[in-house]
């Protein structure tokens, strides 16, 4: 028997029996072990049917009669069915007895393992084993600790010399701790031999690619088969690389395109270009999400944070012996019309006072919705129950919320040059995303523990709290310029230092019991009116300059995904130019400079000084090309791609450039003669973007909303 300590790296089902686990030991060994692992699921329903199911299963599984809690229906009598984790018995049972209610039937294996052993993914553990079989395992760390022993990962980066959407790549750049070099994609034999040698030599834990999912990995496998040469992308040589096909699906009112995926065993593959939110929180953030939710790293990288939240709820349910329904049975309860009107609302979004305002503070409730869920014990089963014990959702959320707040506190005290700062920042962002989606999942119709009433309760409380905050601020003599779900913009003459706002923050906290913090103080901030009518305020179009000189902007061209890079860049330059003014009154002296930037940009465009890639517009295709009645620019570009035999699917992002002539646009992948660029169109786009900013100046003398004498 051997013993070791180390990190749990990965786990998955063995093709025949039990599970396979990978560990990185303290000695640096990558250890593959097997373990027999049983899973239990439950069936409930009519007694005669259960009896028939029992007869059906008698010889094939361990059966027992138990009582467990259904979150919505309370205690139920159940048939518990225990089988090996690789068994397909559930599917068979479900087909034979479709009318039974099933529980705990489709829980990912990693979550079962975590709930059963207390060892979390990427967590420290002590283990004993004999040959390839794991005997015992115990946890040595908690996923909720703020500091972790860093996982010693060996990373191999593979990037292509060009985007394969444009043309056939010629080289791969291979980077690892041993250096970087270029590898020719031709001849294939040399490529495969060389890559195989590298993989064997370095034995990477993570292969980080760009375009790996749908181009590089599938091609490497094909070339390896073609040449008959071995290429061990998997560390587990008993398994093949797992590929998943691309598809389009419809969610939240829009169509989304999901690219193909290539998953490895015993090693991770992450495609930077196919990793959700990877640019938001990088690798450390992704590892953090995996660590706290129990979802495998490769899957977490490619899926939305909602998958993480569901996993977290499942583990909490398993640990607390709450059963997880296989299909959700609860429909929305009936409401009276009056109650529907009262409840069916979102967060409170105010109409700001249009125009430019000096010395404005923005204050934000920290993680408002999750805080409400935990503080007010909002969970599908606790609604309307007086003195209910802590519900499942707050139970799952509380450690996550506490960890995020602890990391945020730590970041506030940390020096930005601290070597841990970047990692902490990424982990904080990753946790934030989990918290952001957890609220939505309360109301999501497919969420296992969702119930629309709990969703409504959270927004109702949030509206009440922000109105309380408004009243507190007004009582202290502040004007509330704007409110947006969890943040307020306040202003008071003569108040412009951080410490002057402290009493306000304290008073709001005393009233609402939800922590609130100063996001920053603007030298000036401008709330823009509607494009349609300058008298109508719109909630989320503004820009401003903080005292630090940093600019913040929402809803203007620079924030829009379909604005070409060049237009974004110039709009921001104009804004940065005005941001040099130390006070609002000084802004007017920078206006001529801003106009000069605009004029120079136009000259550059006319003189063909702008790289065509900076003019590329990216838009998503909302339906099949044939289904556009009047072809929009994006549909035209997609049509051009189709005409040359490229496949385009709804939800896919299409890049194009506006050109002169009948075609009007040109798909970027098809190449472009720079002389064809539609200069007039781009100048129009640029002017419109810069006007968004410059039209606010010079500042017209504004009628104050309330003369100070009215505030009596």
């Amino acid at each position: 028997m051997n013993e070791a300590t180390g990190w749990l790296f990965d786990l998955y089902l063995h093709p025949e029996r039990g599970i396979v686990l990978w560990f990185i030991t303290d000695e640096g060994v990558r250890l593959r072990l097997r373990m027999d692992f049983n899973m239990t699921f439950f069936a409930a329903g009519d007694f005669s049917r259960l009896r028939a199911a029992w007869v059906f299963l008698r010889e094939r599984a361990q059966l027992a009669r138990v009582r467990r809690r259904d979150l919505f229906l309370g205690e139920r009598d159940l048939l518990s069915i225990t089988v090996d984790s690789t068994s397909n018995l559930f599917r068979e049972l479900q087909t034979t007895f479709p009318n039974l209610d099933y529980y705990d039937a489709d829980i990912p294996i990693s979550l079962r393992f975590i709930a059963c052993t207390g060892v979390n993914l990427l967590g420290r553990c002590r283990l004993s084993y004999n040959g390839e079989w794991l005997l015992t395992i115990e946890p040595l760390s908690s996923p909720w600790a703020v500091q972790h022993d860093p996982l010693p990962l060996r990373i191999m980066r593979l990037s292509l010399d060009v985007d394969p959407a444009f043309r056939e790549p010629n080289q791969i750049k291979v980077q690892s701790e041993r250096g970087a070099y270029l590898l020719n994609l031709n001849p294939r034999r040399a490529l495969i031999i060389s890559l195989q040698a590298d993989i064997q030599c370095l034995d990477p834990d993570l292969i980080l690619t760009s375009h790996g999912d749908d181009w590089l990995i599938p091609n490497l496998m094909a070339w390896s088969a073609e040449t008959g040469l071995r290429l061990d992308l998997n560390r587990d040589r008993t398994l093949e690389v797992q590929t998943k096909k691309a598809n389009s699906y419809f969610t939240y009112g829009q169509i989304v395109y999901r690219r193909a995926q290539s998953h490895l065993f015993g090693r991770w593959h992450i495609d930077r270009k196919n990793a959700m939110l990877f640019s938001e929180y990088e690798l450390q953030g992704l590892l953090e999400q995996s660590r706290v939710t129990g979802v495998g790293v490769q899957e977490m990288a490619r899926k939305s944070p909602g998958v993480g939240i569901t996993a977290l709820q499942m583990v909490t349910a398993l640990r607390n012996e709450v059963m997880i329904p296989f299909t959700k049975q609860q429909a929305e309860k009936t409401k009276t019309l009056v109650n529907l009107i009262r409840a069916d609302k979102g967060g409170l979004i105010y109409q700001p006072i249009i125009g430019v305002h000096p010395d404005v503070a923005q204050i934000d409730f920290a993680s408002m919705y999750p805080s409400i869920i935990v503080k007010h014990n909002i969970s599908p089963e606790t609604l309307g129950v007086v003195n209910a014990p802590m519900g499942l959702i707050p139970l799952a959320l509380q450690p996550l919320l506490e960890k995020r707040l602890a990391i945020k506190d730590l970041l506030r005290q940390m020096n930005e040059r601290d070597c841990q700062y970047k990692e902490m920042k990424e982990r904080s962002a990753a946790l934030k995303w989990l918290l952001v989606v957890c609220f939505g999942y309360l109301g999501y119709k497919n969420a296992r523990f969702g119930r629309i009433e709990s969703h409504e309760a959270v927004t109702a409380i949030s509206r009440e709290l922000i109105l309380q905050a408004k009243e507190v601020a007004e009582n202290m003599g502040f004007t509330v310029l704007h409110m947006y779900v969890d943040s307020l913009f306040v202003q008071r003459e003569g108040t412009r230092e951080r410490m002057d706002f402290e009493p306000l923050l304290e008073a709001i906290y005393r009233q609402t019991k939800i922590p609130i913090a100063l996001d920053g103080i603007y030298r000036w901030v401008c709330f823009l009116p509607s494009k349609r009518d300058k008298r109508i305020p719109v909630p989320n179009r503004y820009f401003g300059v903080f005292q630090s000189g940093e600019v913040k902007y929402r809803g203007i061209a620079a924030r829009r995904r379909d604005t070409p890079y060049w237009v974004k860049k110039i709009q921001l330059q104009v804004l940065e130019c005005l941001a040099q003014a130390k006070t609002l009154t000084e802004v007017s002296s920078y206006i001529p400079d801003a106009h000069a930037i605009l004029a120079q940009a136009k000259r550059d465009l006319r003189n063909a000084q702008i790289a065509p890639e900076d003019l590329v517009v990216t838009q998503s295709l909302s339906r099949e090309v044939e289904r556009y009645k009047t072809p929009s620019p994006v549909a035209r570009a997609a049509g051009q791609l189709q005409a040359v035999g490229r496949s385009v699917s709804p939800g896919q992002f299409i890049r194009f450039v506006y050109i002169r002539g009948k075609e009007r646009v040109r798909a970027w992948e098809l190449g472009l003669d720079p002389r064809m660029v539609d200069i007039k169109r781009y100048i129009e786009l640029l002017e419109r973007a810069c006007e968004e900013i410059l039209d606010c100046f010079p500042i017209k003398v504004q009628q104050p909303e309330y003369p100070s004498s009215w505030l009596m």
């Binding site: 019309l337 529907l340 069916d344 979102g346 109409q351 109301g443 119709k445 509206r463 008298r535 004498s709």
Partner: protein, 85 residues
């Protein structure tokens, strides 16, 4: 997202669309003022929505009245100041 009840923003848009023929028959100069009435209602979308009214139009009118009263009071205030000078 996933809302059942019409929001006040939608309600105002629909009401405005319903009155399109009325608006069209007004003189251009009156149309501008008419649009201003809707603009002043839109300044209070949140408040109208918070009132949970079954028929929001009354509350919309109140919001319009509020903006008018505000303008009036500001003008009175200014007039008084001018008189004092």
């Amino acid at each position: 997202m996933g809302r059942t009840v019409t929001t006040i923003t939608q309600y105002l848009n629909e009401t405005e669309a319903m009155l399109a023929a009325f608006r069209r028959s007004l003189r251009r100069s009156d149309q501008y003022i008419f649009d201003g009435i809707f603009a002043s209602a839109r300044k209070h979308i949140t408040a109208i929505s918070q009132s949970d009214a079954l028929l929001p139009f009354e509350t919309v009118l109140l919001a319009v009245l509020l903006e008018q009263a505000k303008d009036l009071t500001a003008l009175q205030h200014e007039l008084e100041q001018l008189r004092r000078e």
